[in-house]
Subunit: 228 residues, 3 copies
């Protein structure tokens, strides 16, 4: 099975480790044996000007996933939204009403569906590929989350080159290592069966430290700074 998934993660942090805004939406192609991505794409957000309600994230994820899916023609597209694995192209008002989610969630999805349902229907009509809202149960969605962390580290390196340093929060229980010419990352949850990723990056002249976010258990902070 060939699956495209997308997720958004990584946050710029202030000095007290509070999130200012999210950084990276990643889309990935995941193929058997489903432990890493064979292709990945990123779209960076502006963390200083970020809609933290979550709607920006899901829209960006859908658009980026469709972009990648047009190229690589997967069997299915997974989005990180836990509404029961439903096909996005079928999300009309009666279907949303019938979901077993909160009333607030229904309002959000009625709003989101205005853009996403036509996008998914058009994509399905052209390619026959379904986009499903499978959420946290999907391994490719988790791999996309790990890649959003890798691209967050890359963003932090570029930010530190310009501004001297950057402090970012990674997605849940994952680590990154900044190595010569690449950034490597992995899940810290062995129950996931060894999920990991890596991306090429210019890491010359950069120092870094990774440590637990003291205010949010199971989340790591990455600090990056220019040498000298």
């Amino acid at each position: 099975m060939r699956i495209v998934a997308a997720d958004t993660g990584g946050a710029l942090l202030d000095e007290e480790y509070n999130p200012i805004g999210l950084i990276a939406t990643a889309a990935v192609l995941v193929e058997k044996p489903y432990r890493t991505a064979t292709v990945s794409r990123v779209r960076y957000a502006d963390p200083f000007n970020y809609d933290m309600s979550g709607r920006q994230a899901i829209r960006d994820e859908a658009v980026l996933a469709v972009e990648l899916a047009r190229e690589v023609k997967p069997d299915v597209v997974h989005l990180d939204s836990t509404i029961g694995g439903i096909e996005i192209r079928k999300l009309d008002e009666p279907t949303i009403e019938a979901l077993s989610i909160t009333d607030r969630g229904k309002e959000v999805w009625k709003d989101l569906a205005k853009d996403l349902q036509p996008l998914a229907r058009k994509f399905w009509e052209e390619t026959g590929i379904e986009i499903i809202a499978i959420g946290k149960s999907s391994v490719p969605v988790r791999i996309a989350e790990i890649y959003s962390g890798l691209y967050t580290a890359k963003w932090a390196i570029e930010y530190a080159r310009k501004n001297g340093e950057a402090v970012v929060g990674l997605p849940r229980y994952m680590e990154v290592k900044i190595l010569p010419g690449e950034i490597a990352g992995a899940s810290l949850d062995p129950r996931e069966g060894g999920l990991f990723g890596k991306i090429p990056a210019d890491t010359e002249g950069i120092e870094w430290e990774l440590y637990p976010n003291p205010l949010v258990r199971r989340f790591m902070v990455l600090e990056v700074w220019r040498k000298d």
Copy 2:
């Protein structure tokens, strides 16, 4: 403390990783230091003809656990059902009504209790050993789950010998390794403190691969096939 426990797990999967039916009920004797089984028994189900409601599983588990307990005379028997550690022999209608579980759960237990309560009462009268519905909190139940995964791997090997290959889903966050003459397995959750198991098996002429189930995070898929 010497504890007998039983659990059912492992599923035959179709090509899209959907479960067709469960495969193995395992009963185990667990003794201090409570990390593996000192004795194990299996009863295989027919995954092509399986009642997925969960009632077949709990009945098979009770019967197999009592069978093993008659032999090894433990201090107590643990079943994987989370109804508060109650003794099964005491499960009459008023007691079930008083449980803090769903109405649906009460109906299921009233039905189950028809067989299980007399079985447990008879067993207690003859041996003085209680059968308790302790559920996921029990380490021996988790060890039984790991053994159901080991026996699932054994079933897959035998199935592959006849049919060329088998694709099975293991119980939650566990791995298996097919070694010369045996199958070894272990929990992937280090918080459990190192739970593991092994069973003898004819593994000659078999190849295998283990990888994350892309649709169900934290569950592994085992593929087994005949060499040539």
Copy 3:
């Protein structure tokens, strides 16, 4: 950021692994990179005469944390109570009523606040340091929990010297090792990013064994006994 936190854990167990009473309240100073304590303090309870309702624990934690905080002057004090990160000095009746916790929880907190709110207000007026009820989300609270496990092991050694042996339950998914001259401990959850601790202890003439509590998955039992 320099954080003081406190937590209570470790239980004396009877022969069937049931808790008799809690053993140790630990307060810790945690500094960047937030993986262990740089200073720790303990207050032992009498497990044979322990109020298991949880109120004794939270009071002991607040008092011990304030004691340590007076010495080491942290930026903030974290307590293990999940009422939304609220400042304890602001806990008057209308504020407690407005918390999204159970009615039972509100009654407990109205009672607790009688002692703790004046303590926190006085401490804040004198030092400007806030005491917040942040709960399980705090890494320093988890490190305090690990230290309560280390001190529980120390208590067990002293108890075994007098009484021959001791059987104690450690806080959730952590291990300890009794080494020459010290007790080392660590989280068993790698998602936490490598939290650990150690304390000096006279470990001469002591033998020990660590194994999973068969009745409470993800909790370890420590047995300690006198050699000869």
